[in-house]
């Protein structure tokens, strides 16, 4: 990113020196992890560009939208219905949380033993490194886990922008009723803040936009079922990460173009790795931009990631929003849709085990790697049941617990390589 943005970043109150450092680290990492990949689809060019401008051009766009009176809403979770924000002419943005930055700052407020994602969003803000938080008018949190819900109290003290939705713990009728009501309350909140009305037409238009984005992401997921895989897991992960930042209309059209290219590749048997490469499904905690650690280790060890059973992944796009004929019905359908997202914060959560099973068979995965961030208790504990369920279906399972740092990369590489060897030796015998 060029000098042109210095003034904009300064006006947003970013720490320019530290921000420059972050950008150069990111650009080096992107070079070595992404641009070194062989045989990438040409359509990735657009997404490379988006990443290179993620703190530049995209922020210029947001500030223009803001000046035009649009509400900029930051979110952390796929339960927050994007349609509702769009229906009020708002812009929905997933916030920065995928890197170890501002850790010392964050640890002034929250314990050291907090998951990297929470430390990440606190750190990005506190170290003055996230132009999205600074551009946002409203930040929507949710009670998905203890760490997040308590951190939001502090995050609100710091930003004065946080609104928290109460997510139930159980998928019961009472839980659904609670969540439906929370969506109604969010609608009310957005109406108050924007001073606009929610109309059926606006809602339908928003649903069309977001469903089209989900369909494009579904196409990407389907293309990955082919052997050889037409696109790397790293690139597919990146696209999923970008889906939270980019303008939805442009993103959808660019992703559909890429998927057309992938369809051609599938037709001609063109892949990014040789046919028969070991196919891995990754399941677990979300991987926020720029968290590429596990995918990079798997794919540099001869494996190919064919899917993410995760919120940055399949859970974000698998279900569309159903048709509705009144505003209230739309809100109820939004609640129904998100209650089908099987996050480990729910109990019981057997549906997630079914999701892992279905994705493994649909994508022809030969093994499942369970990814949990350190201190992410819901996923760390649920790994036990996931392991039993996956192994009962005859697939090998590897449990990884890690954070964003690279100090355990060597150890992880040994585990992942051994896991891939294990799968290959099964195939051989």
């Amino acid at each position: 990113m060029s000098e042109n943005y210095q003034e904009m970043w300064a006006s947003l109150g970013l720490n320019l020196e530290a921000h420059q450092g972050l950008l150069s680290v990111l650009s080096d990492a992107y070079q070595s992890i992404y641009l070194s990949q062989k045989n990438r689809p040409a359509g990735m060019g657009y997404f490379d560009f988006v990443v290179s401008e993620v703190h530049g051009l995209r922020i210029v766009e947001l500030l223009k939208d803001k000046a035009a009176g649009k509400l900029i809403v930051g979110t952390f979770c796929v339960y927050v219905p994007e349609e509702l924000i769009l229906a009020l002419d708002g812009v929905s943005i997933g916030l920065c949380a995928g890197a170890d930055v501002g850790t010392e700052e964050a640890e002034k407020f929250i314990p050291r033993n907090t998951c990297a994602l929470i430390k990440g969003f606190m750190g990005f803000k506190l170290a003055g490194l996230c132009p999205y938080v600074e551009s946002a008018d409203l930040i929507i949190g949710e009670t998905t886990c203890d760490g997040k819900k308590k951190a939001y109290e502090i995050f609100d003290e710091i930003t004065r922008k946080v609104y928290v939705m109460e997510l139930p713990n159980k998928k019961s009728d009472e839980g659904r009723a609670l969540w439906t009501n929370e969506i109604r309350k969010l609608a009310q909140k957005l109406i108050e803040v924007t001073g606009r009305e929610i109309t059926l037409d606006k809602l339908r238009e928003a649903a069309r936009v977001v469903n089209a984005k989900r369909r494009a992401l579904q196409r990407l997921s389907e293309a990955r079922a082919s052997d050889p895989a037409p696109i790397s897991g790293l690139d597919a992960l990146l696209i999923n990460q970008i889906s939270f930042y980019d303008d939805p209309l442009r993103f959808t059209s660019k992703l559909n173009e890429l998927c057309d290219e992938l369809d051609e590749r599938v037709k001609h048997g063109t892949g990014v790795s040789p046919k028969g490469a070991t196919r891995v499904l990754v399941s677990g905690s979300p991987m926020a931009l720029p968290n590429w650690k596990l995918h990079s280790i798997i794919e540099s060890s001869g494996g190919i990631v064919v899917g993410e059973e995760a919120c940055v992944g399949e859970r974000n796009f698998r279900d569309l929003l159903d048709a509705f004929s009144t505003v209230d019905e739309a809100l109820r359908k939004m609640a129904d849709r998100s209650m089908g997202i099987n996050c480990a914060c729910f109990t019981p959560n057997d549906e997630r085990l079914t999701d892992i099973h279905n994705m493994s068979s649909k994508l022809h995965a030969q093994g499942v790697i369970h990814y949990a961030l350190q201190f992410c208790t819901p996923y760390l504990v649920e790994a036990y049941r996931a392991k039993n369920s996956v192994e009962a279906a005859g697939l090998p399972f590897l449990r990884i617990e890690t954070d964003y740092s690279l100090e355990d990369a060597g150890q992880l590489k040994t585990r992942v390589e051994a896991f891939i060897e294990m799968i290959r030796d099964v195939k051989r015998s």
Binding site: E401, D408, Q411, T414, A418, M422, D425
Partner: protein
């Protein structure tokens, strides 16, 4: 034909050379320039084929375009060749600990490894032996059970300060040595439980030379544990056997 396996470990480089059905084992300190040590070992023996394993395997892969396998597969192959009915391997090396479960056909069925730090590994024992003024060669033989003490921390740094406290209280260093060995075994057992123990059990890695660890592991598992007379060579040997395939 000469076939070799090289295991680039964190403390030692182990080298197994197979020639006319005879296996020869060599061992050198890893030091600060492992690549130079590897080059020398390989040049001196001029093998037709070499396979690298161990945490430093990628160094060789980059330097000599050498094929690699993980130490998990390597130790499985090596242990199985020496003990044909082996189904579980407990391997305590310099900086990592692994438990490998083998299927009936000898391939890897499951494995667990310690997390990123050196707790419960050979490095931990080495630091503690030094703190108590013992040599690594007879550390395990000097353990005494005349008095019961416990080291509760598994962190090498905190455990060392516990050791200093115990010394300050006048506890005999032979008794502290026992407590330290016990803390390592305590660290291993959950890994063993996770993979599920199937007999027969092989204890491998440099730490398997330690008589006290051998004894404690046998007692606390309640099962017989097999140990090769050069237990740290099994991965290098396994790599050589895989190179032969």
């Amino acid at each position: 034909m000469i076939i070799a396996g090289i295991d680039v470990g964190s403390r030692y480089i182990k080298y197994a050379v197979l020639h006319k059905g005879v296996a020869r084992f060599l061992r050198e300190e890893t030091g600060y320039d492992p690549l130079a040590v590897c080059r020398r070992l390989i040049e001196d023996t001029a093998p037709d084929r070499v396979l690298a394993t161990g945490y430093g395997r990628h160094l060789l892969a980059a330097d000599k375009e050498m094929a690699t396998i993980t130490e998990i597969k390597a130790v499985a192959r090596g242990a199985r060749a020496v003990f044909p009915s082996c189904r579980t391997i407990i391997d305590i090396g310099g900086q990592d600990t692994k438990v490998v479960l083998l299927k009936a056909d000898g391939t890897v069925g499951n494995f667990e490894m310690n997390d990123r730090c050196a707790a419960g590994t050979g490095k931990f024992l080495e630091i503690m032996a030094r703190a108590l003024g013992f040599s690594m060669n007879d550390f395990g033989l000097r353990c005494e059970t005349s008095q019961q003490v416990t080291i509760s921390s598994l962190c090498a740094v905190f455990a060392e300060s516990e050791v200093i406290t115990l010394i300050g209280k006048g506890v005999r260093r032979e008794v502290i040595a026992t407590a330290l060995h016990n803390s390592i075994v305590t660290r291993i057992l959950p890994l063993v439980k996770r993979v599920g123990l199937v007999e027969e059990i092989v204890f491998a890695g440099g730490c398997a030379r330690d008589a006290c660890l051998q004894k404690m592991l046998t007692e606390r598992l309640g099962k017989n544990v097999l140990v090769h007379d050069q237990p740290d060579m099994l991965s290098a040997y396994g790599a050589a056997l895989c190179a032969l395939d």
